[in-house]
Symmetry: C2
Subunit: 472 residues, 2 copies
C-alpha cells in the first residue's frame, strides 16, 4: 500500500555479499547464532546490520529458526527495518504467537506498509477484537479494502487477492496508458497486466505488459485487449483458482464479484503457496497428519492433534483382531497360521496403498473423473490380480517350504490373490466413493482401506485354512 | 519461436462460448464424445470447429480423454490448427506413444512453432535417432538453441529454460528500450523483465516491465537495474530453481552458464509444473508408487512398475514373521497373543507414519535441517511416549477385559508404549539418515519404518508375554 515499499525492494539485491544459506537452501547455523547473540546483547545496530536488508522470505526463515522468546525481540530491534511481509512467510503457529506478543501499535504500523493480500494474511489470524482494533487505526481506504477482503470466506480467492490494480477505460491509447503509468505515483508494487473496465467497473479484458510495450502508441486499448473468459470469482475456493493458474499458465488473474465487477487481482506467487499447501495437505492426510500441524508445534499440541487418527485406527485394529478371534481354535491347532497371517494382511495393505495414492492424487488434479473411472477400476483390479499371482507363487513356495507343508503354501497363496484383488478394487473404489460424497478422499481413504485389507487378509487366510484342514 | 503463435493466442479468449468443463474443472463427457464422433466420421471441419480454438491445455486434456487410437487422428484432422504446445500438457506415456505414431514431417512442423522450452520438452522424449532427424530439419538458429538446451542434464534448469529473451546494454535509456520493444518483431511471446548485459553477454541485472513503465524515458537502464544475486545456473536441478522461485516469489529468473553469461530465462509457469511434480513425487514415493506412473498406463506396465516395491515389502514381512516364529511355543500356550499382536504392530506403524510424513515433507521443503533436528527427534520421541501412554491405557483395559486377563492388559500396554516411542524415534531418524546419505527419504523411509514397528511390536509384546507368563 505504501510506495516506499518499492524503493526498499530495489535495494535488496546488492546486500547479500555474504551468503546466508548453504547450497541446499538452509540458513547457515552460524548466521542464526550470530543474530541470536546480537539479540541477547540487545545490540540493535548489529541486528540491523545482519538482518536489516534481507529479503522478507529470509527474515521469515530466520524468525522460525530463532528461539520463540527471541522472535518478538528481533522485530523490536529491527524497528523500521522490519518488513511485516516476513510474517506471511512463517508457520501459522509462529505467526499467531508472535502477533499475540507484539504491541497493537507495532502491528498497525507494520500492516499499513503491506500489500492488501499480505495484510489480510496477517489480520485473518487475529481474534475478532484485536482485528477490529487494528482496522480502526488504519487509513479509511485501506480499512475498506481490507474489510471487504476479510468478508470473503476463508481460503477463498477474495482473501488471497490484491485489491490494488491498474485499470483503464477502453478508449485510452497505449501511449496514454504508458504515460499514465509513468506519471502516477502509488501504483501497486507489482503488476503484470493492465485491466480494461467500463465506467461501472465491469471487466472488459486485459492487456499484458509485454503486449502493451509491443504495440504502437496510437492504438486503442479496446483494440488489443484480450477478453478474459478465465476470471476468478472472489468467492471461488483458492484451490479452484490455483487449478486455473496451472491449467492456463497464468501469472495474474482478475478477480470479479458476482456482478462481474473487477475487485482485485490474484498473483501467481500467492498461487504457488496455495498449490504447495494443497499438495502438502493431501500428503499429510494420507499420512494421518492434520493439515495445520507444523514442525514448530509443541509436544503436547502435536500429540493432541495426532491422537484422533490413532484412535480411529485403534478401532479398526480391534475389529481386525476380532476377525482373528473367530479362528482361535484353528490357530491353536496350527500355530504356523499366526506366524504367517500378518504377511497376507500387510501385503494387501501395501498394494492397496499404491492404488489409493494414485487415485487420491488423480482425483485432486481432476485427472480421474466420471468418464475414466470404470476403466481405472478394472485396471486396478487386474493389476491386483497380476501382482497377487506373482506374490502368491513366492509366498506359497516360501511358506510351504518353511513349514514343510505344501497345502499351507497353496492356502496362503490363494488368500494373497484374493486380498490383492480386493486391495486394488477398494484402493480405488473408496476414494471414488468419498469424492462422490463430497468428502476429502485423502483424509479418510487410508483407514477404510486398511480395515478392508486386514479383515479380508485375515479372513481369507484363516478361513481357508480352517475349511481346508478341517475337511482334509 | 514463430511470431504468429502470438496472434493465435490473442484469439483464444473469445471462443469459449460453450463451456467445455464442469464446475470441478473436468472436461464434459458430452464434449469428448462429440469430438470422438467427429473423428470417427473423419469430419475435419467439425473437429476444427469443436477443438480448433481451444487453449493448448484444453486440447491436452482432450487428447488424454480420447481413446489411444483417436489421438493421432485428432492431430491429423486439426492439421494447422493443432498447437504442439498441447503435447507438453499430456502424460509422458501418452506423449511418447503419440510421437511414435506421428510422421516426422508433422513433428518438425509442430516443433518449429514452439517456444524453445516446449520444444525441448517434446524432443527429450524421443529416441536419439528420431531426435537427430528432427533437429536436422529445423532452421539453424533453432537447432543450435535446442541442442544447447538438450545438452544440459535431465531435470536441470537448462532443460526447462526458454532460450529467447529481451536484453539491452546498460547505456540504453528507458525510452530507447520501450521503442526497441515496440519496433522489433520476433521478440519472445511472453516476457516479464528486460535483462541488462555487457558486450560479453555477462548478466548485469534486470528491469521488470512494471518498473520500466514507471520510469522516465530519459533514465539509463544501468541506473534502474536490479542486481540479481538470485540467478539460476543452467546446470542447477529444476527443484533447486523451484525453491528459489517459491522463496523469493519470482515470476521469471535469468539462467546463466558457468561463466555467468545469460543463456536463457526460466518462467514461473514451468516452475509451477515442477513444484506440482516434486510434491507429487514425494506423495507417490511415500505410497510406494514410482514417480512416473500415470493413470493412462496399461495394466501390465502398472503391475510391473509396482511389483519391486511389493517384493521389498515381502522380504520385510517375512522378517517380521520370523520374529513371530520365535514365539510359536508361547502362542500355542496362549492364542490370545496371536489375536492381539497385530494391534501393537499396526498402531506403531500408524504413529510412525505420522512422524515420517512430517519429517519427509519438512526435509523436502528444507524446514528440517541440522540445527533443529535434535529438537525434533526429542519432540517425536515425547509425542510417541504421550500417545503411547494414552493408547496403552485404552488397549490394556480393552484387552484385559476381553480375555479376562488383567496381566495380559498390562503386557500389551507396555509393549504399546515401547513401540510408539520407537515409532516416533525411527519415524524421524530414518528420513534424516537417508537424507544425510543423499538418498531420497520419501522413497525408502516407509519400508525401513514398517520393519522397525512390526519387529519391535511383535518382539516387545510376545517377548514380554513369554518372559512374564513363564516366570509367573
Amino acid at each position: 500500500m505504501s510506495a516506499d515499499a518499492e524503493t526498499r525492494h530495489a535495494t535488496q539485491g546488492a546486500d547479500l555479499a555474504a551468503p546466508i544459506r548453504d547450497e541446499d537452501g538452509r540458513l547457515f547455523h552460524a548466521f542464526v547464532e550470530a543474530v541470536a547473540e546480537a539479540i541477547a546483547a540487545n545490540d540493535g545496530g548489529r541486528v540491523c546490520e545482519l538482518a536489516g536488508d534481507l529479503h522478507e522470505s529470509d527474515v521469515g526463515d530466520l524468525i522460525e529458526n530463532l528461539e520463540p522468546d527471541d522472535r518478538p525481540k528481533l522485530i523490536e530491534l529491527l524497528g523500521k527495518e522490519f518488513d511485516f511481509a516476513a510474517l506471511t512467510e512463517v508457520d501459522e503457529t509462529v505467526r499467531v504467537r508472535l502477533l499475540e506478543e507484539l504491541p497493537s501499535a507495532t502491528i498497525v504500523e507494520g500492516v499499513r506498509e503491506l500489500d492488501s493480500d499480505d495484510a489480510v494474511y496477517i489480520l485473518e489470524d487475529l481474534d475478532e477484537a484485536e482485528r477490529a482494533r487494528i482496522l480502526d487505526q488504519l487509513p479509511a481506504p485501506d480499512r475498506v479494502a481490507l474489510t471487504r477482503s476479510l468478508d470473503f470466506p476463508e481460503e477463498s480467492a477474495g482473501r488471497r487477492m490484491q485489491t490494488a490494480f491498474v485499470a483503464t477505460p477502453p478508449f485510452w491509447t497505449v501511449g496514454h496508458v504508458i504515460d499514465h503509468i509513468a506519471d502516477t505515483p502509488g501504483l501497486p508494487e507489482t503488476f503484470y497486466e493492465v485491466f480494461v473496465i467500463d465506467p461501472a467497473f465491469k471487466l472488459l479484458g486485459s492487456v499484458k505488459l509485454d503486449r502493451l510495450l509491443r504495440t504502437r502508441r496510437s492504438t486503442l486499448m479496446r483494440d488489443i485487449l484480450e477478453e478474459l473468459p478465465r476470471t476468478v470469482r472472489a468467492t471461488d475456493d483458492q484451490e479452484q483458482a490455483a487449478r486455473l493458474f496451472e491449467r492456463y499458465n497464468l501469472v495474474s488473474a482478475a478477480v470479479v464479484d458476482d456482478a462481474d465487477r473487477l475487485v482485485g487481482v490474484l498473483m501467481v506467487d500467492d498461487i504457488l503457496d496455495v498449490i504447495e499447501e494443497e499438495a502438502d495437505e493431501d500428503l499429510r492426510a494420507l499420512g494421518g497428519v492434520t493439515g495445520d500441524e507444523e514442525i514448530s508445534d509443541t509436544v503436547l499440541y502435536t500429540a493432541r492433534s495426532r491422537i484422533p487418527w490413532l484412535l480411529v485406527n485403534l478401532c479398526t485394529a480391534f475389529f481386525s483382531a476380532s476377525v482373528i478371534g473367530l479362528f482361535e481354535g484353528t490357530i491353536e491347532h496350527m500355530v504356523a497360521l499366526a506366524v504367517l497371517m500378518p504377511i497376507v494382511a500387510s501385503m494387501g495393505g501395501n498394494a492397496g496403498t499404491q492404488t489409493m495414492t494414485v487415485a487420491v492424487r488423480a482425483l485432486a488434479t481432476r485427472d480421474l473423473g466420471g468418464h475414466n473411472a470404470r476403466r481405472l477400476v478394472r485396471r486396478e483390479a487386474l493389476v491386483g490380480l497380476a501382482n497377487g499371482v506373482t506374490l502368491a507363487l513366492l509366498v506359497g513356495l516360501t511358506a510351504g517350504t518353511w513349514f514343510e507343508n505344501p497345502e499351507l503354501g497353496v492356502i496362503i497363496g490363494t488368500a494373497m490373490v484374493v486380498n490383492l484383488v480386493c486391495a486394488g478394487l477398494f484402493g480405488i473404489l473408496i476414494p471414488l466413493t468419498l469424492d462422490k460424497l463430497k468428502a476429502d478422499p485423502a483424509v479418510a481413504s487410508g483407514v477404510f482401506l486398511t480395515t478392508v485389507t486386514d479383515t479380508v487378509g485375515f479372513f481369507a487366510f484363516l478361513g481357508l485354512a480352517a475349511w481346508w484342514f478341517n475337511l482334509h
